[in-house]
Amino acid sequence: MTPALRALGAWCYRRAENILAAMLAAMFVAFIIQIVFRYLLNLPIGWTQEVTVIMWIWLVLWGAAFVLRESEEVRFDIFYASASPRVRRTMCIVTAIALVVLYGISLPAVVDYVAFMKVESSAYLKIRFDLLFSIYVVFAIAALVRYIWLCWQAVWSRPAAVPGMTKAGSDE
């Protein structure tokens, strides 16, 4: 990769992070609005509940698609972390191929499902569900691209270059 491309990638990554943080902030603010309206002003409102739940779905899938690194996802890595670079490369290739094949086969049906959801809209904000749920398609495609890339790297790079794990897992 050329330095310019790398810089562009890093720039995009930071913007993806900005959006992720903004989604959590939006969730938080919507909840505060909900509490204020219901308990202080005695005016229950429904749209905040919708905003929070939509932001939650988008936060998870956006985060998984563009922000989380492999090492940040909840995974079982005792074997991966202790394997030799050569074995690790094989593990990486096997899991990547399995994911690409299974996500790839299901992608058309997933797109169909999301497109079909255009018949319904959300209760308060009247947003069509195909738009709300489109993030799943984005997530599935991003996962496909990421694992094709990981597989490609594992096949063509020297074994030592396969990303290792310095710490085990990252979760709550």
Binding site: L20, A21, I32, Q34, V53, W56, V74, A98, Y136
Partner: protein, 433 residues
């Protein structure tokens, strides 16, 4: 159920992919696609289950908010003030700082829902305080911090209990109450151990804080000490849903850090938002994957089959609880807690109901058990966190945590066999179980 059934093949594939290092959420989605493919069902079901499950399970929304609340607590100077307060109270006894460590986890447990956040938040500070001037062996300090962090999710609020409520439909309010006494019981067990080692290993006494300073120190820590009151008061008075209470807790933490303690900059606020969002996305992926795979488990009627199998052994309730504890303790050595709660625990729930075991008692027991998994080698996440924070080799932390582990398993046994330790407090608040 034959070995070559679509269900068993998909379970084998999920397990294999997870063991090979694929994130567990992805592994469960991929394995479910395989199941749908083999049984000739619509492959779009994976998206449907993921999205509808996330859309309708409103209760999960409290997870990101509790994570955020814990992050915000850790940014400010709130931690320092609380530690000073704990030191003023128990620092004067032999092994004072070790007792401070335990007391601060009880207080922090009332604010954050996550053991990892508790250890990461105050762990480094406790470690520095305890090892300064060679007061305590670093490995003992690290082991103690890991052990005390376990109390966090047992005393409310608790992210694992929210996840258990999601899979069992038990009331979060009563689950939270049920955790209070078991949490304190475990803290007492730890304090007893510290008293023992303090004598034997000659741990130091802290300079006693003059009693006339106590009101000032308490006053400085007061807004932070009020946090659990705001949070739990909101839930138990029925004013707020647990999810709203989580948002209120985050809001309260933000307001007192900015307005009272003046310790939050825009930059650190962004950093906490981003870090909480990352953690939440990673938990969310696991929950989403479990929602998809749960569809497969439900279609296959697995929990009912397990119930049939276990009742055919004519297990007594006690025998069943022992069995579940043993299985979970073993799984906890190798698997991550949230994954166990989402995938393994639901399988036992119908059996527990048939045997007349109370769902709140069962839930608290399961959560205590899973929290012990966080400090059991080889795959104890808290042990990794402490190695990461302190640089003490894992081997040394493990050696020093064994006595704590034994004491906590004894506490787990009491919680298992004396349901009243869990249920007494919820019943006092009107729980009819």
């Amino acid at each position: 159920m034959s070995l070559a059934s679509p269900f068993s093949i998909s379970v084998v594939v999920i397990t294999a992919l997870a063991l090979l290092g694929l994130p567990i959420g992805h592994a469960m989605i991929a394995g479910s696609v395989l199941y749908l493919l083999m049984t000739g069902q619509d492959l779009g079901t994976v998206a449907e289950q993921f999205l509808n499950g996330m859309y309708t399970n409103y209760i999960i929304l409290s997870v990101p908010l509790f994570v955020l609340a814990a992050e915000l607590m850790n940014v400010g100077t709130m931690t320092d003030r609380l530690l000073r307060f704990c030191n003023a109270i128990v620092g004067r006894f032999r092994g004072g700082l070790a007792h401070v460590n335990i007391l601060q986890s009880i207080i922090f447990a009332g604010m954050s829902g996550s053991a990892i956040a508790d250890a990461a938040g105050t762990g480094k500070m406790m470690q520095t305080m305890m090892t300064k001037d060679g007061k305590y062996p670093p490995s003992f300090a690290a082991a103690l911090t890991a052990a005390t962090a376990v109390i966090g999710p047992i005393i409310p609020p608790s992210i694992p209990m929210i996840i258990y409520a999601l899979v069992s439909d038990a009331s979060i309010g009563y689950l939270f109450l049920g955790g209070v006494i078991p949490g304190l019981l475990m803290a007492l067990a730890q304090m007893a151990l510290v008293i023992g080692s303090a004598k034997r290993r000659g741990f130091p006494v802290e300079l006693a804080t003059p009693l006339r300073d106590l009101p000032r120190i308490t006053w400085q820590a007061f807004p932070a000490l009020m946090m659990p009151v705001v949070l739990l008061g909101g839930i138990y008075s029925g004013i707020m849903t647990p999810t709203e209470a989580a948002a209120a807790a985050a809001g309260y933490a933000l307001v007192i850090s900015i307005a009272v303690y003046r310790s939050v900059s825009p930059r650190s606020l962004y950093a906490s938002l981003l870090s909480s969002a990352r953690t939440s996305a990673s938990i969310g992926m696991l929950i989403g994957g479990a929602l998809v795979f749960n569809y497969v488990v439900t279609v296959e009627n697995i929990p009912q089959e397990v119930r049939g199998l276990l009742t055919s052994f004519a297990l007594s309730p006690t025998g069943f609880l022992l069995l579940v504890n043993a299985i979970l303790l073993v799984l906890g050595c190798v698997l991550e807690g949230t994954a166990i709660l989402l995938i393994v625990v639901p399988v036992f729930i119908p059996t527990a109901q048939t045997l007349g075991i109370d769902m709140v008692h069962f839930g608290v027991m399961v959560v205590v058990n899973i929290m012990l998994g966080l400090v059991t080698p080889p795959y104890g996440l808290l042990l990794f966190v402490m190695t990461g924070i302190t640089g003490v080799p894992l081997r040394d932390i493990v050696r020093d945590i064994v006595p704590f582990l034994v004491a906590m398993i004894a506490a787990l046994a009491i919680i298992t066999f004396v349901p009243d330790t869990v249920l007494w407090l919820p019943r006092l608040f009107g729980y009819e179980g």
